[in-house]
């Protein structure tokens, strides 16, 4: 018996003078105690579906039809006053960005207490006790003390725990989790997912999980629905879905995920882009991007067909009228090449930020964002720099380009030290180094045309060359005359890459180039990077937290923890058998598509780089810590396969 059921939900949003049909006849049913995952790329209407269920749409949105039945009562018919009893009490919600969901000027205890007072009329001591109980339930140590903290005093993972505590305060029967871990590191993500699972086991709550991450779905879901362009295109049990996805769109999503198995080949991509939701659809919405589409797909919209295994798909492949589901063809082989010779060498790089205090701004301490990093990058190879956020990856990248002044150490490009150069000398010396940033929306000046953006670094203005570069990254030459806002995120990232290529660099620092993009677009960008490397012999310093992209692209990996590299070496060997306990934990935290892992989650969170733990920085979280770890920072130790590890478990330290 389904506990919550949405029937033919229809939602419209007005955006920039256009009407978008963001939710189009969506029906879904969540049973008691199960986790129902709604998957899809950004802009396909997942969040709007959840907001429609709670009637929390923004001002510009309206529900045009359908029903939301909660144990037989239609929520859309309730007066607003009654609806307020439903929100929080019957259905709780947590959002993606914990930092924006908490009021920064209220103590977290009060914010949770508000819910208790609203729904249960709790006051005084009873309320305080219940707040502490809730905080303890979500795994926050010293709940009584933390209840008096303001949100800024808590880390991202802690804030998300508080959000969950707030959602649980009303003792809801269902929790809507809208991308609950997208803003968090994999290590924290694993903790939060584990927490949600344990709460569900304890009180039998249903979860409507909204996510774009198939790994998270695999870890959490009992049933899965895939959304595309405002409608649900496939519904299946978790195991059936991961064993054999039925809809061509779902299959493509799997195929475009990078990973170890796809190393060396091109990733399968979904061509084109998600259609605009402002138009009318005559046939299947996916037809234009589908490899299997035939005439029928463009003429009539498919209804639900049984795709076997208990899955349902909106696809003509399963209506028994011709058309055989073909399996995606194996991607063409392209070897990962790489020639010897070091192009960039970083020696003992340190970036310290002074912490100033008091009236006279006296330096009272320092944040060692990067604390003695050394590595070398070879011609035509990719070095991946991985680690949790806050470990100093990005700072390292910027310090290499001298966008931040290194405190100490040297950056040798073609044997020439960039550190300490100034003005024109620096400009000439770093000509061969360029950077591609994470956020394609922030990295292009919105007030400049693409041509002006590209000309920025070029010595002479050459329209032919700009056109050639745009073609090379897969854009048409007329893109030159347009402004960044006319392009999608993936296209903007292509422009950013083309801009970097305009100065003929030898080394590209890629600072999380795909983490703001959807999986299908990520595959396109990774393919592009791979091709550019082969055609131009570029070297990449690939800064990321996405381990599957590392598996796919990198030759070498360096794992950073609190400003230092703890392990580095050949990518295949390192990822297959991580040596350092931190690397092991990091790899274990990444959700996997194949199995539901039972694993030990990380202990605690990244310590503050302002006061790193003495001895080995990782000893405070390490399951294998020894007494020596707390006092001596381990020396580098070279393993038999050439990997370098800094850990007392190896080598001959006592």
């Amino acid at each position: 018996m389904s506990w919550m059921e949405a029937k033919n939900l229809d939602t419209w949003i007005a955006n920039r003078g256009k009407l978008l049909h963001v939710v189009d006849a969506v029906s879904l049913a969540v049973k008691k105690g199960e986790t129902f995952a709604l998957v899809g790329e950004s802009g396909c209407g997942k969040s709007m579906t959840s907001l429609s269920i709670l009637r929390l749409l923004p001002d510009a949105g309206k529900i045009a039809g359908g029903q939301v039945l909660l144990e037989g009562v239609d929520l859309l018919e309730l007066p607003e006053r009654k609806m307020r009893d439903v929100r929080g009490k019957r259905i709780g919600i947590i959002f993606q960005e914990p930092a924006l969901s908490l009021n920064p000027v209220m103590r977290v205890g009060e914010q949770i207490g508000e819910v208790l007072e609203r729904h249960f009329g709790m006051k005084g001591e009873a309320r305080r006790a219940r707040v502490a109980e809730l905080l303890a339930q979500v795994g926050i140590p010293d709940p009584d003390l933390r209840a008096a903290d303001y949100p800024f005093q808590l880390s991202g993972g802690m804030k998300q725990r508080v959000m969950i505590a707030m959602a649980l305060a009303g003792e809801p029967d269902m929790l809507i989790a809208d991308e609950p871990t997208t803003a968090l590191d994999v290590t924290i993500q694993a903790q939060i997912l584990e927490l949600l699972r344990s709460i569900q086991n304890r009180n039998g709550m249903s979860i409507l999980l909204i996510t774009h991450d198939l790994g998270v779905v695999s870890e959490m879901a009992d049933r899965v629905a895939v959304m595309y362009a405002g409608e649900i295109v496939e519904q299946a049990e978790r195991d059936a879905f991961f064993a054999s996805p039925a809809h061509p769109y779902s299959r493509k999503l799997f195929a475009s995920l990078p990973g170890m198995g796809k190393r060396g080949g091109m990733l399968d991509v979904i061509r084109g882009s998600v259609p605009s939701l402002s138009g009318e659809f005559s046939g299947c919405r996916f037809a234009d991007r589908c490899d299997h589409a035939w005439d029928l797909c463009r003429e009539s919209a498919p209804s639900w067909f049984d795709a076997g295994n208990g899955s349902l798909a909106r696809c003509h492949l399963y209506d028994g009228r011709g058309g055989v589901p073909r399996l995606a063809k194996a991607p063409a082989e392209r070897g990962i090449s790489g020639s010897g010779g070091v192009v960039l060498e970083v020696k003992n790089l340190k970036v310290h930020f002074p912490v100033r205090k008091g009236l006279l701004q006296r330096v009272s301490g320092k944040v060692a964002a990067v604390d003695g990093v050394s590595f070398s990058l070879e011609f035509g190879k990719t070095m991946a720099l991985v680690g949790e956020s806050g470990c100093g990856k990005t700072t390292t990248g910027k310090a290499i380009l001298q966008l931040l002044k290194p405190t100490m150490g040297s950056v040798l490009y073609n044997g020439k030290d960039l550190a300490g150069l100034e003005g024109g000398e620096l400009r000439r010396a770093r000509e061969g180094l360029q950077i591609v940033f994470q956020d394609p929306y922030a990295s292009l000046n919105p007030r400049m045309r693409v041509r002006e953006i590209m000309e920025e670094g070029m010595k002479e203005k050459d329209e032919g060359r700009i056109g050639a570069l745009l073609k090379e990254v897969g854009l048409s030459t007329d893109a030159m005359l347009r402004y960044p806002h006319e392009f999608s995120g993936g296209q903007r990232q292509r422009i950013a890459i083309a801009r970097a290529l305009a100065v003929n660099p030898r080394v590209l620092v890629l600072d999380e180039p795909t983490s703001a993009l959807d999986v299908s677009v990520q595959a396109q960008i990774l393919n592009l990077l791979m091709r550019l490397q082969q055609d131009h012999g570029l070297s990449y310093l690939f800064i990321t937290h996405n381990l599957s992209a590392v598996e796919y692209l990198a030759h070498d990996v360096a794992v950073m923890y609190l400003g230092r590299i703890v392990e580095k070496g050949n990518a295949e060997k390192l990822l297959a058998s991580p040596a350092h306990p931190y690397t092991r934990a990091l790899l274990a935290a990444a959700p996997s598509l194949e199995t539901r892992k039972v694993r030990e989650t990380f202990e605690g969170e990244l310590p503050s780089p302002l006061s790193p733990p003495p001895g080995c920085h990782y000893h405070s979280r390490c399951p294998q810590r020894m007494p020596v770890c707390a006092s001596v920072y381990p020396e580098a130790c070279v393993l038999a396969d050439g990997r370098e590890v800094r850990c007392h478990l190896y080598g001959d330290s006592p």
């Binding site: 419209w12 949003i13 007005a14 955006n15 920039r16 003078g17 256009k18 009407l19 009637r55 923004p58 001002d59 510009a60 949105g61 309206k62 529900i63 045009a64 039809g65 859309l76 018919e77 910027k398 380009l401 966008l403 620096l426 400009r427 770093r430 000509e431 180094l433 360029q434 950077i435 940033f437 994470q438 956020d439 922030a442 990295s443 292009l444 000046n445 919105p446 007030r447 400049m448 002006e452 953006i453 920025e456 670094g457 402004y483 806002h485 950013a496 801009r499 970097a500 100065v503």
Partner: protein
């Protein structure tokens, strides 16, 4: 006739030229023209724009200065403007002293000889209703006749404007269809509202101008000058203060603000200290001190100025400058914060990685991205500056006493409020004109701010949404 370009005239022409050049530049760049299109779609914005255009038109006519021939082969010392020429009847037909609006007799009794005996009577005015044989009987029909006649002209002129607009918007359609489209408000721009505003303006000002050559519509002041003329002349002073002041302050605010935010370090400290210090000096004190110093300079160098108007004009310009000097700090602070934020943007860092120089980064990357803030603050400051001028002139440190402005009008009307019977029209006229100008400017500023503020962008779309699916529940 010898054209004279006063300092402020030159700056006004420069400003108009810059605005036209910007309009031409922006029309080719969609990201620059898009918000202005949105202003063009706002009803209140366009209504206030029509009203503002009327004020600006008068101010512009009043800025085309010349010196007429004095009849003896030389140029008159008096500097007149195109507006003065148009309103020469209002300007020259001065009475001896106060008279009420539409009065035919003086406001004060005077001793005149009636049948050889001196008697204290209210004498007939020299010009106000002078043609009337029996004012008590003839005035109302005469005024009514003139009003009706000018309303006829007003409606004709409005229809001409309407037809011209319909023709301009026709684009291949018939004139009738185009006119219907305008009146039904089916175009993107609220042409109907603008036309009705224009009609209202015509219906008010056609009769007012027509009557002003026979009566004193707003009465006369102490020395017999027509108050309606004074109010219209004040418009230019207000506009000059409102626009040129910002022009003076902009370079300071923009450059210092951006430099402080972008470069940071000791430069930031120095600039912050400068504006914090400047902010702590009471601005009235600064203005009084510098205006008085300037006045001393002007008085001690009479040979530098050929005419009275030039002296008054220089003082006006100086007032603009000193007001600008005291009001740039707020914008500067805003821009510093914005530059501080932009400095960390990835595209600026990318430009640094390309080796682009600081100056180029500031002009190519930062400046275009803060222009919307500059624009909003300029439009918002206009009205407060107009009001500031009125206050300063009232206190006596504003414009030259010989220059007509809202402030000098209010100052002159100050004592008259205490008279019995009260002389209310000077103040009322100044209030009415200043109020409508500032209100129009404020409404226009609101429309501009709404168009440039991305947070408010869903509003117009919401209207469409309501129309399309308003019938549904929820």
């Amino acid at each position: 006739m010898k054209p004279v370009i006063l300092w402020t005239d030159g700056l006004i022409f420069l400003l108009i030229f810059v605005l036209c050049a910007f309009a031409w530049y922006a029309s080719k760049r969609p990201h620059l023209s898009a918000p202005w299109k949105k202003v063009g779609e706002s009803r209140s914005g366009m209504i206030s724009a029509v009203v503002l255009m009327f004020f600006v038109g008068i101010g512009f006519l009043d800025s085309l200065h010349y010196r007429p021939a004095d009849g003896k082969g030389a140029w008159s010392v008096q500097v007149l403007s195109a507006f003065d020429a148009l309103a020469s009847k209002m300007r020259t037909r001065t009475e001896t002293t106060y008279s009420a609006p539409f009065a035919t007799h003086s406001f004060q009794k005077e001793a005149v000889l009636v049948d050889g005996k001196p008697e204290r009577v209210y004498p007939r005015l020299k010009y106000g209703g002078a043609e009337l044989h029996d004012p008590a009987r003839d005035e109302i029909p005469d005024v009514a006749k003139r009003v009706l006649a000018s309303w006829g002209w007003a409606i004709l002129a409005w229809i001409a404007a309407f037809v011209a607009l319909a023709l301009a918007l026709a684009k291949g359609r018939s004139l009738k269809m185009s006119a219907a489209m305008i009146l039904k408000g089916e175009s993107n721009h609220p042409w109907d509202a603008m036309l009705y505003t224009l009609l209202a303006l015509f219906l008010i000002f056609f009769p007012a101008f027509s009557l002003s050559s026979h009566y004193h519509v707003f009465g006369t002041d102490k020395v017999g000058q027509d108050v309606f003329y004074l109010a219209l002349k004040s418009i230019r002073t207000g506009l000059v203060i409102g626009t040129l002041t910002t022009l003076v302050m902009l370079p300071f605010a923009i450059w210092l603000g951006i430099l402080a935010g972008y470069l940071g370090g000791w430069i930031d400290d120095v600039i912050q200290y400068i504006y914090t210090t400047l902010n702590s000096i009471p601005s009235v004190l600064l203005i009084v001190a510098s205006v008085l110093m300037m006045q001393v300079y002007i008085d001690s160098h009479p040979s530098l100025f050929e005419t009275m108007a030039e002296r008054a004009d220089l003082r006006l310009l100086f007032l603009c400058m000193i007001l600008g000097m005291t009001s740039w700090t707020e914008l500067c602070r805003l821009l510093r914060g914005e530059a501080l934020k932009l400095r960390e943007m990835d595209y600026i860092q990318a430009a640094q990685a390309f080796g682009v120089s600081h100056l180029k980064i500031v002009t190519r990357h930062i400046l275009p991205n803060v222009m919307h803030i500059v624009l909003i603050s300029v439009v918002m400051q206009f009205s407060s500056l107009v009001l500031a001028e009125a206050v300063l002139s009232y206190v006596g440190v504003g414009v030259d006493p010989s220059m007509i402005s809202f402030g000098t009008m209010i100052n002159a009307a100050r004592l008259e409020m205490a008279r019995e019977p009260m002389v209310w029209w000077s103040l009322a006229a100044a209030f009415l004109f200043m109020f409508s100008m500032v209100l129009a400017a404020n409404l226009f500023a609101d429309a501009v701010r709404d168009a440039f503020d991305p947070r408010l962008q869903t509003r117009s779309a919401l209207g469409i949404l309501k129309r399309v699916i308003g019938r549904n529940p929820q």
